[in-house]
Amino acid sequence: MSDLSLAMPVILLTTGAIAVLLLFSKKREGANPYPPAVGAATAAAALVSLQITLGKLTSVAGAGSSTGLGGFMTVDRFGVAAATICLVATLLTALLATDWLKKADANNPEFIPVLLIAAAGMVVMTTTGNLVGMFLGIEIMSVSLYILSAFRRGNLRSIESGLKYFLAGAFASGLFLMGIALNYGVSGGFDMASLATASASGTMVSKVALILLLCGFAFKLSLAPFHQWAADVYEGAPTPVTGFMSTAVKVAGFTAFTRIVLALSGTGGSWLSGAMVWLALLTMIVGNLGALAQTSVKRMLAYSSIGHAGYLMMAPIVVLSYNAASPNLGVESRAIFLSTDAMIFYLAAYALTNLLAFGSLAFIETREGKGLDMDAIGGLRWRHPVAAVGLLIAMLSLAGVPPTAGFLGKFRLFGAVLDRASVTGETAFYALIAVAVLTSLVSLGYYLRVIMRMTMHEPEGEAPVLPPFSPAWRVLIAVLVVAIIVLGFAPSFLGGGVEGVMSFLRTGI
């Protein structure tokens, strides 16, 4: 496959960003609905070109991945599946932000170009087999997100969120970069195979490199105890941006991290899994208990997203437990397939759900001009039935109640870990499952509280007269609600998306 077609999604996204800047940055008077439309169209074009690449991948017999641009891009099904979720999240964010961008202090057309460039960074992150590419992708994404977080320049909370995100994110980048530098020193390369070489050498420097990489990712993925920045950043950032950050960034981050872990699995990197298990356990507990104590819906969702990161962290742990010396390699490979497949499904379900939640919240916030504490959603059922339905389905899916996508995601992810636990018999996996199930039960407490607030606190007096609904927004919420329920019934809708992981394993190690 030609280099150009591999890089096409990234080229399209950056071209779209530049086009919006050239066309619309002069017109600042009044609300301009065109930049979000162009942004959504660009994301859709990038999606199409990604699927064409995927089609070419499958038509080449036996080749599960395609490498180009001097090893910079490694496009396989795992990466394409993750990049697809990121681009869908970008598209939905551009559409959901249309209404919100009309607000006086957010009415800047630069929002869409920065969003598109963040998406380009995510595509690079997910479809690269090279640490340089991964680092650059992370940075393109992060720098754009610092800007998006601080986008409401007159709003102190928004700027504060940008500052805190920057401080945590740039520190993480420094750690991550030093990790790459040390890995380069040991192995002399930047590709994923170099990680395996360095890890197999077992030297002290290679271990320090891996610890630095793990710490960098722990910051970026808001894993406890590196999560302190997340609550303030998510609460302060503009609501559509929070939705984007809590979904697409998690997808890209977990995919990149899993790629590193895939390269390490079976090469003596398993000493790292102890630290990862503790990170996952702590993240699940801190996230879910923290969410219980919150009075702001947005802050509650921030802690909930920390909790979900803890569940997701179980997938890389299973991948890392791959035992190359096992007599039954089929079982070992199957564990990797099951866990990465479950992770991608979980990420897709979580992305749709959280976008629905934040889309509904952004609507409520724009219409009522108030904050997003628990009182703001009191009696929502009577005031905004559409937003209330959106939020209801989102909360059920986040809590993992059937028949929603969130339930199936949890079912498959926990199932993959349980499968691994029964094969290896290690207590770590049983501990993970036990804590994951218990914290899921705890999470019902705060998700149901939102539903109770919406449906049981009938407002006193006359309901305020509110601006009319935009029909496009209603359609969007309806589409998301249907998608979440359909995904809960028909998992095969996304199924088979990541068989390429197997071929990646063969080529990557």
Binding site: E160, L163, G174, I180, G185
Partner: protein, 104 residues
Amino acid sequence: MGPIGLTHYLVVAALMFALGVAVVLTRRNAIAVLCGLELMLNAAALNFVAFNRFGSPERMDGQVFTVFIMTLAAAEAATILAIVLNIYHSMNTVRVDEVDSMKE
């Protein structure tokens, strides 16, 4: 004292990195924190150049990555200075511990 070799560069880079981390963790002035972050990035860049020069001088990959890192450092500095300027406009401070409007 022999000629300057890989170890010298690595020691300097390690010291720079440790200083950078210390500055980020202890200083509360946003500009000082930015200086610490730059030290961390430059320490890694020095490592790349040194490993490239002494490990595989026929390839230029480490040197090229350093150019990327310099570009990135510039982009980060531009972003954070814009944010800090906005903070200063609304709060009259650049101390990160005073910028705290969202604690529960």
